[in-house]
Amino acid sequence: MQDYFSLFHLPEKFDLHRAALEAAYRNVQAQVHPDRFAHRSEAERRVAMQWATHANEAYRALRNPVERARYLLARRGMEIDAERNTAMSHAFLMQQMAWREAVEEAAGNASALQRLEQDLQRDEGVMLDDLQHALDDANDLAASAELVRRLMFMEKLRSEIDDALAVLDN
């Protein structure tokens, strides 16, 4: 099976236009989706399922910026070992603690949680810009890897905020 970028005929870069990815994904699914082969032979149906599965996996990975960065890094020989390698700068660790405290304080308060979520999103935006530079321009794998680990933390924190908001919703 082809790598995710070749599958969609897209340049292997972090910078990626969402619309181009979406169009390419739909185009590939239009060729390979099992629904196109439901009346064909079993061999063709099996191959279609494998390709459609591959296309879904590729789309899911490239759509999410952090996943996309991890994939690019893996292809350049740098695996993000998130569980074991938690080395992050002192400043970011302090920032993490501050955020965690803020989430705990905001628990039960929807507007405070939403404000916090916006702050996180803004900071994530800055990190993503840095990540694009590190990957596409500088090819600085170590710096990219650290940014990815930071962004993974941010994602986790944001899903915790989402969970807290969901509880308030019910």
């Binding site: 082809q2 599958l7 969609f8 005929h9 169009a23 390419a24 739909r26 185009n27 590939v28 699914q29 239009a30 060729q31 390979v32 989706h33 099992p34 629904d35 439901a38 009346h39 064909r40 032979s41 079993e42 061999a43 063709e44 099996r46 191959v47 279609a48 399922m49 390709w51 459609a52 599965t53 879904n56 996996e57 789309y59 899911r60 989402d162 969901a166 919703d169 019910n170």
Partner: protein, 620 residues
Amino acid sequence: MALLQLSEPGESTAPHQHRLAVGIDLGTTNSLVATVRHSLPECLPDDTGRILLPSVVRYLRGGATVVGTEALAAESTDPRNTIASVKRLMGRGPVDADPGMRARYDLVDAAGMVRINTVIGPRSPVEVSAEILKVLRARAEESLGGDLIGAVITVPAYFDDAQRQATKDAARLAGLNVLRLLNEPTAAAIAYGLDEAAEGIYAVFDLGGGTFDFSILRLSRGVFEVMATSGDSALGGDDFDELLAHWLHKQAAGADLDCGANRALLSEARRAKEALTTDASVVAKVPQLGGGVRTVNVTAEVFQSLTQGLVERCLQPVKKALRDAVLKVADIEAVVLVGGATRMPHLRAAVKTFFGRAPFTDIDPDKVVAIGAAVQANVLAGNRRADEDWLLLDVIPLSLGLETMGGLVEKIVPRNATIPVAKAQEFTTFKDGQTAMSIHVVQGERELVSDCRSLARFELRGIPPLVAGAARIRVTFQIDADGLLSVAAREQTTGIEANVTVKPSYGLSDDEVANMLKAGFEHATDDMKARALREQKVDAERLIEATRQALAEDADLLSLAEAQRIDTAIAALVVAREGVDHLVIKAAIEVLSAATADFAARRMDKAIRTALTGSRVDSL
């Protein structure tokens, strides 16, 4: 050009031959069948003109079965042998069988799925459902005048793996080739979307007799993309009937009812509920023990306040799906109502209030699912018109997880992932020389295994004996386009294919289904042979046609020797097809399938390579 000769004299099928395919809505309360004829979808009536077939099966002493309206009429006189709402038991085990069904029928706990004790012995929900499907199949074949190439059967989007598998087994028992299991709200979206050429984000609110589904879809440039789905597979119109029945009984201050009177009470409650759709009040005749009735007046207000809790229960999954799709109410273009139970005015009002706009109800909520399924079946059967270029991307409704230490669940495929989807996971041994291990797959969103639904336990056997931690077993969990799970395992260091023994926690084993098929034909061996022969002929026809089409398109992908091998296999199957032995045809089909396996893979490679080049880009 030996290849071209193949599709010449006598053998060729007409290039645009219409293949007969149907969509079937196998509902809790009613079932129906629809098809596309002359480019238009239509529901097929029985010979008295009725489209809806009540999903009721009555077993008679002596072995005969009665399905539909006639069975429904016997509900209160022969309640134990007259099975209604069997969908609520599909894929259900002893612990999670619906309590209402438990009270109504003589349920027997059996491995995999409950059985219903009837006058002719225990029947599985799969067999009962198959009786309904058989009637619809016969209706379709009679009215279309030929054998069906296949059917799309709809299932609630929120059905789990066991419930889906049970539905597919029922179709198999009924002699139907399942082209696809299609989610009911998605079917409704197809029916609406193609009608209105709609673009944007749509919500489908589907309250049937026994299940509730809520799906959010994005329609754009011919692609139906399900963004999120949620629901409650044990909430439906039946629950409204039960609450009203309970209230009526209390008002009439009668003694406890027997089984037959209870069923009469339930159907009276249903009648009252339906009348309240248009009337402000209705007089219900509440059956009494030992015969006779007492009249009770029910107003719409009373019914509303009785069932307000159920209406609110519907809104929880709605909120969950919106959160999952990261959408707000304002992002929803329109809401489509599906299912007979959405006729209730207070439910409509609640949906309207929540979404801030009146829902779509243009297509009859009882028929819209079957119509969507028929449209999909027509396309899947290969009857797609040149201008009909749409694609459906559906999702898995519930997360798939594995049991880890301490009874916790590790999620491997998240809910709302687009199907087909696969996940590979690596396992290792924890003891020296360990040659087997077991893996427990569950479905659900909770963190504890005990709170999720157990799907299957897999035994991996034949692991090469190595020191602890040295063996690396890669297990692939594949969910196909029907939302059904399959598992494969391979030991990585030695490349040995580990043996996977699947023990489904629910459902029937392949052997059980085979036995049921056989039992169904015990008294009619000739009939069975005739059917097997017809089925193999249809399969042979389909394969020959598909292969010829593939050859016509991509013969250049084959070496001369390969092309000759396929040639020979086609010729052999053409001869075998004319014979009377279904086993000979089956063998010839297998030879041709094997001969074309590589060809299929190469064709797909080519399709991908050209996917983004040439004129095809413009067509999307």
